[in-house]
């Protein structure tokens, strides 16, 4: 333990010395995230300096090996670093789909050359990646994707369309699931390919959601190309050709765990000021102190029971994982329950908000903030695998029901 405590002291000192004052406000809102990439404009010099220093240290991706731009830290050290950053309210220096998704995929399935070539620019925030998975006709049934990728000897030729590519319009490169063998069975003709978006054949179009503007885009491949090797020995394909479904499945589970494990919104719901108190502020109380709307009160009380029990389940499953117990497929259960609960929570927040939160524009509601968040939650149970898909997974993998 003493070694870990030494690390803690060092990390803390380094952070104190290197984290600019402006980056110590703990701001974590969407608008304060540093995403990096070629198109990136730093909000401030401090944001730039902070990224550079952390990247130098390898701490934008502290768990990655040093040779690939990471910090080479152990799990425990990463935890300590995060704790110390939280204590000093340091902002995260960099977030990106490269860090969350492509990195883990390359670390697991990439060659040494691919890692060397692609990972360091991600760690330094130089290249911003996005994800090309879903297609208009391949939603829950992702493996039915049709985006065509033809072998043209020295390069791949890609034609097709992806949807729900987050931040595609702001990204430099895209990792894409494509069909390299149209004759193979559904899961066996898919490859995982890396494409530079800076070419004529790739275009993007933002998607407006029912909640308003969104980071999602449609991305079109119109005779787009990728060389067989992006650099000598650096294949454009991750893993084997036609075995991309393995990579995809790995990342889908990874994504589900991120979604279910985060569940910050549920946490907020059950924090010291719960829905009931907020409702009392907004709707008022009866004499005696109970919420002035008795049926709303009942709804909230029932929801709090479930929300609390869900939070405890997140905790229990983390503890079980630590103890080497538990069921892997439980991430599906957490994803299912957490997103459905979050939708229910926002229905209640809209109930208590009443007409005040039904205004869509104007300062009073910050342009309908709660209403837009409410509508946005409706996607929770669709993105990252629908609730129906999660229930299928539970039925099949955990309950082992036949034909599921």
């Amino acid at each position: 333990m003493s070694e870990l405590e030494t690390f803690r002291a060092e990390a803390r000192q380094w952070l104190e010395e290197n984290c600019p004052e402006e980056m110590r406000d703990g701001a974590a809102g969407e608008e304060n995230i540093c995403w990096g990439g070629r198109q990136w404009r730093f909000q401030s010099d401090a944001q730039k300096v902070w990224l550079e220093r952390m990247a130098q240290k390898g701490w934008t991706v502290p768990a990655w090996p040093k040779e690939y731009g990471g910090g080479g830290l152990s799990k425990e050290e990463v935890k300590v670093l995060k704790e110390e950053m939280r204590k000093l309210k340091c902002r995260s220096p960099l977030e990106s789909f490269g860090i969350w998704m492509l990195g883990p995929a390359l670390l697991k399935y990439g060659t040494h050359e691919q890692k060397l070539h692609f990972l360091p620019p991600i760690a330094r925030g130089e290249i911003r990646w996005c994800q090309g998975y879903s297609e208009p006709n391949a939603g829950s049934d992702l493996a039915s994707l049709q985006c065509k990728c033809e072998d043209k000897d020295d390069h791949w030729l890609v034609n097709g369309q992806k949807v729900w590519t987050s931040y595609a319009d702001k990204s430099d490169w895209i990792f894409v699931l494509v069909r390299t063998d149209p004759k193979a069975t559904k899961h066996n003709g898919i490859s995982f390919i890396l494409i530079d978006m800076d070419q004529k054949g790739v275009s993007t179009k933002p998607i407006k959601l029912i909640s308003g503007n969104s980071p999602f885009c449609e991305t079109f491949f119109d005779d787009a190309t990728a060389p067989k090797e992006h650099a000598p020995g650096v294949s454009a394909i991750v893993g084997e050709v036609n075995r991309g479904w393995d990579v995809a499945k790995y990342l889908l589970t990874h994504e589900r765990e991120m979604i279910s494990g985060g569940a910050g919104s549920v946490g907020n719901a059950m924090s010291s000021r719960g829905m009931g108190q907020v409702a009392a502020d907004e709707v008022g109380r009866e004499e005696g102190g109970r919420l002035a709307d008795p049926l709303l009160r009942a709804k909230i009380a029932q929801a709090e029971v479930d929300g609390w029990a869900f939070l405890l389940t997140l905790e229990r499953m983390k503890d079980e994982a630590k103890a080497g117990q538990g069921v892997g497929a439980n991430s599906s259960m957490l994803k299912y329950y957490g997103t459905e609960y979050n939708k229910r929570r926002f229905e209640i927040l809209m109930d208590m908000g009443g007409s005040e939160e039904l205004e869509w524009e104007g300062e009073r509601t910050a342009d309908g903030k709660r209403a837009r968040n409410w509508l946005r939650t409706k996607a929770n149970s669709i993105e990252g695998g629908t609730s129906e898909v999660q229930l299928n997974i539970i039925a099949k993998r955990i309950l082992e029901l036949p034909g599921a």
């Binding site: 879903s134 208009p136 006709n137 939603g139 829950s140 049934d141 039915s144 949807v163 729900w164 998607i207 407006k208 959601l209 029912i210 308003g212 907004e282 709707v283 709307d293 008795p294 049926l295 709303l296 709804k299 939708k343 229905e347 809209m350 109930d351 908000g353 009443g354 007409s355 005040e356 939160e357 039904l358 205004e359 869509w360 524009e361 104007g362 309908g368 209403a371 509508l375 409706k378 996607a379 149970s381 669709i382 993105e383 629908t386 609730s387 129906e388 229930l391």
Partner: protein, 379 residues
């Protein structure tokens, strides 16, 4: 009375259905939103509706109306719910028409009902002052002032308040907030001194207003109904509005459900139409059942308003509670079963979710009305 539409009412429904599909489909609402139309509805369309007798659907023939009663008004509201047609129908043709029909004196009737039927004037009903509905909570003051009154206070969530020529407003001439006694209804000109109207653009791309009354003068002639005794009169008008909103939500729920069932038959995943998946089938079948319940409650409420206006409170609460909850479920299931595409603004289903949220909130949500029913039933 038989719980089916009469032949006449069915003809009205069929005519409305065709007209609205042609002239006011969801794309029309989308256009109004995208061009940021200052009225939030089409005045030309409203003129056409007036010509067809819709504006005066509740107005007696002596005042130039079609006199179709509440069932007729509900039939129209339901069809407008299917197409999410934006119009001043609720505020002018249901709320104001009911207020004049049931509460006003002859002179007020003579003055206003023909204007409603002719589509010549727009009206709004200003009741709520806080985020949740509750007429008895009215605090707005109607201070006695000479022979008349001075009105002061703030109203919110006034549907079509931004375009209304005249506003029917509930104010407190006696008692204090929380009491039923002491309310009076006034008819106030929107241009009167001291009235300031702020348009509020709502989630559903429809419009409402916050209206401030700053010492607005009103005479005895501006009073609709009795001084201090306006609560029951107001409740009657609100019940009509609740039934109208319920009919509208029934239409919206039916349409959202129909779109979903169509999608289930067309959308293929895992090599088959998703409508073959039994889990979705059962959810759809359950929702079908719930919507059938809504249709029954709504029709009964409308019939009851026609037959026993003064006794229609419980059944209107029932309809509003049931229609609101089921319409929410229908819109939620619609988005979920559509998957990603249902989340896009480009697709229409989101408009249904938004309108239903607003409509179920207006004049009391499900919790309000279920609680009210419990009170009425003595527990």
């Amino acid at each position: 009375m038989s719980l089916v539409l009469t032949e006449e009412q069915e003809m009205l429904r069929d005519a409305a259905h065709g007209f609205l599909e042609r002239n006011a489909p969801v794309s029309a609402l989308r256009k109004l939103r995208d061009e940021n139309n200052p009225d939030g509805f089409s005045r030309d369309l409203w003129k056409e509706m007036a010509e067809m007798g819709w504006a005066g659907i509740l107005v007696g023939e002596t005042h130039g109306g079609a006199d179709f009663g509440f069932v007729g008004a509900g039939v129209l509201a339901e069809e407008m719910g299917r197409t999410l047609t934006a119009s001043p129908f609720l505020s002018t043709s249901i709320l104001a028409a009911t207020a004049f029909n049931k509460v006003a004196n002859d002179a007020q009737k003579q003055e206003n009902l023909p204007k409603i039927a002719g589509g010549e004037a727009l009206y709004a009903l200003a009741v709520d002052e806080a985020r949740k509905h509750g007429p008895a909570k009215t605090a707005m003051q109607a201070e006695k002032h000479g022979n008349g009154f001075k009105l002061s206070g703030d109203k919110t969530f006034v549907a079509d308040g931004h375009v209304a020529d005249k506003i029917i407003v509930a104010a407190r001439s006696a008692g204090s907030a929380g009491e039923q006694d002491g309310l009076t209804l006034f008819l106030v000109d929107a241009k009167a001194k001291g009235v300031s109207v702020e348009r509020t653009q709502m989630v559903d791309s429809r419009n409402a207003a916050r209206i401030r009354f700053d010492g607005v003068e009103a005479t005895g002639e501006d009073v609709i109904g009795e001084v201090d005794g306006g609560y029951m009169a107001l409740e009657g008008v609100l019940n009509a509005g609740r039934a109208g909103l319920s009919a509208e939500m029934s239409g919206s729920a039916q349409q959202a459900f129909a779109m979903t069932v169509t999608y289930l038959k067309e959308r293929k995943q895992f090599g088959t139409e998703i409508g073959t998946f039994q889990a979705l089938q059962h959810r759809a079948a359950h929702l079908y059942s719930e919507i059938e319940l809504v249709k029954s409650a709504v029709l009964k409420a409308l019939q009851e308003l026609d037959a026993n206006y003064g006794m229609a409170g419980p059944i209107c609460s029932l309809a509003k509670a049931k229609a609101g909850e089921v319409a929410k479920l229908a819109s939620q299931e619609a988005v979920q079963m559509h998957g990603g595409i249902g989340m896009t603004d480009e697709y229409d289903i989101g408009f249904f979710m938004k309108r239903i949220r607003v409509a179920q909130e207006m004049f009391g949500d499900g919790s309000f009305h279920a609680d009210r029913l419990a009170q009425m039933r003595g527990y």
